[in-house]
Assembly symmetry: none
């Protein structure tokens, strides 16, 4: 028999939240006193637990309500799905943490070189090769311009860009379980596009071509497979969806 404030304190929310949840019929009190007071018991507490769990995942309350009201609501399945989600989030944050660490160390000058030059579809050694081929496939002017830009970056700047690239790919890999059309994947693609725009081009058609090349070109593919063997194909699909949705793909 908990009152609003008691439950609120214990759950780390405010009474207003419980009022609101009652108002929208998301969490109705176990009992209501003759005085109109709300009293909560174990069932309500457990339901609140579920609600907070889903709220943590940024689900709108209406969806949470719908979820919990499904007659065939499969708690086990929901939890497992939640689990996957959590793992992806953790992965993403850890990658981010690494990048932050690298940046800090870089600022402090304790390290001079980034060890991982893995994700270099565009590193210096390979740049020449790609240029020739890219000249055929893509617009000549842009290729030249971006090649020039790349050369003008300092070694530090290049390392930063490469590190950022790796981070983005990791984020995209983390989004694979959720599908190429998922918000996480699409957000990754958005970041990838900005990243590419630093030294390449934001042109939609070329971006799509690049993404599709990731699985077609064996040299790219080898690099990508090292990170995750599904990445190359996934990128192509995710970028396609991204450009479709933004209406930048005429056909």
């Amino acid at each position: 028999m908990l009152t609003v404030k008691q439950l609120a304190n214990l759950a780390g929310v405010t009474p207003r939240t419980l009022h609101y949840y009652d108002e929208i019929n998301l969490l109705t009190p176990s009992q209501t006193g003759a005085n109109g007071y709300r009293y909560y018991q174990k069932d309500a507490i457990l339901r609140l637990q579920q609600i907070l769990l889903y709220r943590q995942m940024n689900l709108p309350l209406q969806q949470i309500k719908a979820l919990l009201e499904q007659p065939d609501f499969d708690l086990l399945y929901a939890l497992q799905s939640h689990r996957t989600n959590l793992q992806a989030q953790i992965q993403q944050l850890q990658t981010l943490l690494q990048t932050v660490d690298q940046t800090i160390q870089h600022l402090q000058g304790t390290t001079t070189m980034t060890p991982k030059q893995l994700f270099t579809g565009f590193n210096e050694a390979q740049q020449a090769e790609y240029e020739a081929e890219a000249l055929q496939t893509y617009d000549a002017e842009i290729v030249k311009a971006s090649a020039k830009r790349w050369k003008n970056y300092s070694a530090d700047e290049k390392n930063n860009i490469l590190a950022e690239g790796g981070e983005i790919y990791q984020a995209i890999i983390a989004a694979i379980p959720q599908g190429a059309g998922s918000a996480a994947a699409q957000a990754g693609v958005a970041r990838w596009r900005v990243h590419m725009s630093y030294f390449w081009t934001p042109n939609p058609a070329q971006l799509l071509a690049i993404a599709q090349n990731y699985s077609a070109d064996s040299r790219f593919k080898a690099n990508f497979d090292q990170m995750d063997e599904r990445l190359a194909g996934f990128m192509a699909e995710a970028v396609r969806i991204y450009l479709e949705r933004s209406g930048e793909l005429s056909a």
Copy 2:
């Protein structure tokens, strides 16, 4: 020279968002055409990236604005602070993941959850349940019993409890910026109380005494300062608020 929609697509937001950011002077366009059109360039793109980074951390836009506008904005300090934040988030998510895993196993009937397992993690409603019972039933006998329990714990169990303690303190440290009265801090205190009850007591007066001792006793303080120099003082304040609010502090 990007237009609103182009930048919006790049960053994965909508034009409306950029309109709004302009309106509140969070992100003003690099240039404005004679026709009133907003045009964005690299500087704006980078600033937007920063904004989105902080927004991901659920910072209100006004705070982000204040952050970015600080004339003595210390990038290194900001990154280190960001790093701490990330670690706390990861910790929290991992704890949550454990709880979810245990719940899944519990549902599958392969294990029975001990009270301890049940109440670890961010699952606040479960804590609520435990606390509700504890509030009803704690008295001198139970306090004694739980104090004795500590001796009966195996070395492993003790380690687990200690690890849990560290985790709780990290969560509380993460709540410092939000104030001792914030929901996050108070939730941390709630966890701390459960934690303390394992081997000490849930008695309010004694808990307050312990918390206040953290800053008074130099041995405690040394330990706490190692985690965060604000922790000791913050704990005392947060616990005081917690007990005041729950009405367990008569004066």
